[in-house]
Amino acid sequence: MPIQIPEQVKPYYEMLRIRLVEEALAERYSEQEMRCPMHLCIGQEAVPVGVCSALKTSDMVFGNHRSHGYYLAKGGDLNKMTAEIYGKVDGCCGGRGGSMHLIDLDVNFMGCTPIVAGTVPLGLGTGLASKLRGNDQITVVFFGDGCFEEGVVHESFNYAALMELPVIFVCENNEYSVYTNLESRQPDRPMNKIAEAHGWDVGSGNGNDLNQVAKITQQAVSRIKAHGRPQFLEFDTYRWLEHCGPNEDDHLDYRPADQVASWKKKCPVLQMQTQLLSEKSISQEELDSYRQSILEEIELSFNFAKASPFPSPESLYQFSNTNPS
């Protein structure tokens, strides 16, 4: 962070930063230089930041298709992310992946991929390794309400409970999978109860309330340290923009207009800001200076990304494990 931020304001700063980064991405997407699908998490910033605030750098995180927030909250390098989205050689996977394939092993952001539930069982493996090696690394896997429907999630519930793995599954319930609402995909029952029936500890809460997310996650971390059982956390939140892409899509009418409006009122960034201001933890000037400093950082990251060369065509053949010829 380019400027000094008081400890208790950091989570807010992180959320604001994710918001501003994504707004900038959305704005510039139409320039046609970010040539990849992009799933923004605007409106959902409290979950990544709240959860990651309870983790150490040595803890491991896996994401999914919508991972800018997880990546940044875990401490992933912004320049590398931006360059990745631009398909550049300095991207975090050298331009091979784009927005849906972020990785930063320096901070144990282990990777994210767009096949729904693809990374879920990987967390079992890092969890097992931690357990076998007797270290205290926790693994967090972030996924959505849609992902919960994949069988492998349930196989993972069984296995992690059986082996008592130090993993936390965080389900961001934004009520939609693309344009399909939860009621069209799942019966009316809490997801929590299923994890609980498998023997997991569970927690749930308001995914737009950073303090709540952070606290629930801290409790889960403490429970793991205490008795090693896996933890399932469900947070309710809401996506503001279209499923994939930089725009709003409320004209498509797949979500009730009042639903969108009411969730926008519960903006996690704004709520936190109001609180900080009312507590006088922060002044309006400080706020403005944060925003300014983040916008500068973002500007630099776009400069970095644009200045970075495209990968050379020949580099395509690197890391092909099968056919060395």
Binding site: S30, Q32, R35, C36, P37, M38, G87, K88, G91, G94, G95, R96, G97, G98, S99, M100, H101, T113, P114, I115, V116, A117, G118, G146, C147, E149, E150, G151, S177, V178, Y179, T180, S184, R185, Q186, C244, G245, L252, D253, Y254, F310, P311, S312, P313, E314, S315, L316, Y317, S320, T322, N323
Partner: protein
């Protein structure tokens, strides 16, 4: 005559006809009734046939494939849709272990009259997990038909045929075909599964192509034609059954074969076609048979890598010249290659495409 229609509309018309024709037909897939209607291929169907026949589904690809199979056993005719082929790997168990085998292993008892439509993604960062082209995987499995129409006409005729077929059919739609247009009859009609189609005849080389490669093949054949080289261009249309007979007959005439495919080269459908033609028309081959397909690497996102990854018209042209024993540096060779040279980006289906898709 009515105006040309898109591939998308052709698919939609086929579904619409089959739904109206047989009440056992239903359509299910993630997003089938959503506002985007599977790239518009299911537009209007929900309104016409209702939510019991035009169904969304949870993200449970394997169970829902099994659901479709089970429904088939009692006479339903499911059409399942995956917006990307890659999601179907989650259902390989049910597709291979049950759909492909059921009728055969139960000695003809119990049919699985199921169609699985899957889209092959390409470009605009579809990248490593959203752009595979699994025709070879499915074609290796007995009991599955695998078709990949390249033009709107076939999309309609073959989809109707596929839905009326009593066995499972994998119906592969390349995303870069959806916007293409041509004249297609309004009334229902059927095109056979397992029959290739000679797109244009020629006598110097047989260019057999699968799916989107047919579009590339036709353009390239045009360029060669301008220079007096007539390439017989074949749209394979089906990967399984694979109509090697049509290709072998063509090779008996031209003596030369190049196969274009949209998937990885190793163990791809192009290998099967080369093998069959080599076995059957060995004596008539005047030059080594050849293939152009993807290198054995995963699809990269970055446009510069994409350009290296996907075959270029020039690359294909060079391979053709080689098979024809024409030096690329010769007058004719360099003229042709020059005609084929383009700096169009290889990560978008058409020039003014504005992602994402």
């Amino acid at each position: 005559m009515r105006p040309d229609i898109t591939y998308t509309e052709a698919v939609r018309e086929a579904l619409d006809f089959c739904l109206s024709d047989d009440e056992n037909v239903f359509v299910v897939g993630e997003g089938v009734p959503d506002p985007k209607r599977i790239f518009n291929t299911t537009a209007g169907l929900l309104e016409k046939y209702g939510p019991q026949r035009i169904m969304d589904m949870p993200l449970s690809e394997n169970a829902l494939t099994g659901m479709c199979i089970g429904s088939g056993l009692v006479g339903m005719r499911p059409v399942m849709i995956h917006q990307r082929t890659d999601f179907a790997y989650l259902a390989f168990d049910q597709i291979i272990n049950n759909a492909a085998k059921w009728n055969f292993m139960f000695n003809g008892q119990g049919q699985v009259p199921m169609v699985i439509r899957m889209m092959i993604g390409r470009g605009w960062g579809q990248g490593p997990q959203h752009s595979s082209s699994p025709q070879a995987l499915f074609s290796h499995i007995p009991g599955l038909k695998v078709v990949m129409p390249s033009r709107p006409y076939d999309a309609k005729g073959m989809l109707i045929q596929a839905i009326e077929d009593n066995g499972p059919v994998i119906f592969l739609e390349h995303r870069w075909l959806h916007h293409m247009k041509e004249a297609v009859p309004e009334e229902p009609f059927r095109e056979p599964l397992g029959k290739a189609r000679i797109v244009r005849s020629g006598n110097s080389l047989t260019l057999a192509a699968f799916s989107y490669s047919v579009i590339e093949a036709t353009k390239i054949a045009d360029a060669f034609k301008k220079h007096g080289i007539e390439i017989e261009t074949i749209d394979m249309r089906s990967a399984s059954p694979m109509d090697h007979q049509t290709v072998a007959a063509s090779v008996r005439k031209t003596g030369r074969l190049l196969v274009l495919d949209t998937s990885w080269i190793t163990c791809g459908v192009a290998a099967e076609l080369v093998a069959r033609v080599s076995e059957e028309a060995f004596k008539e081959l005047k030059a080594p048979p050849a293939r152009v397909a993807l290198p054995d690497l995963h699809a990269p996102t970055s446009p510069t890598l994409s350009k290296e990854f996907y075959p270029t018209p020039q690359g294909i042209g060079e391979k053709i010249l080689k098979t024809l024993s024409i030096e690329t540096s010769s007058d004719k060779g360099s003229l042709i290659l020059n005609d084929l040279t383009t700096d169009e980006p290889l990560d978008v289906p058409f020039l003014d495409f504005k992602g994402p898709f």
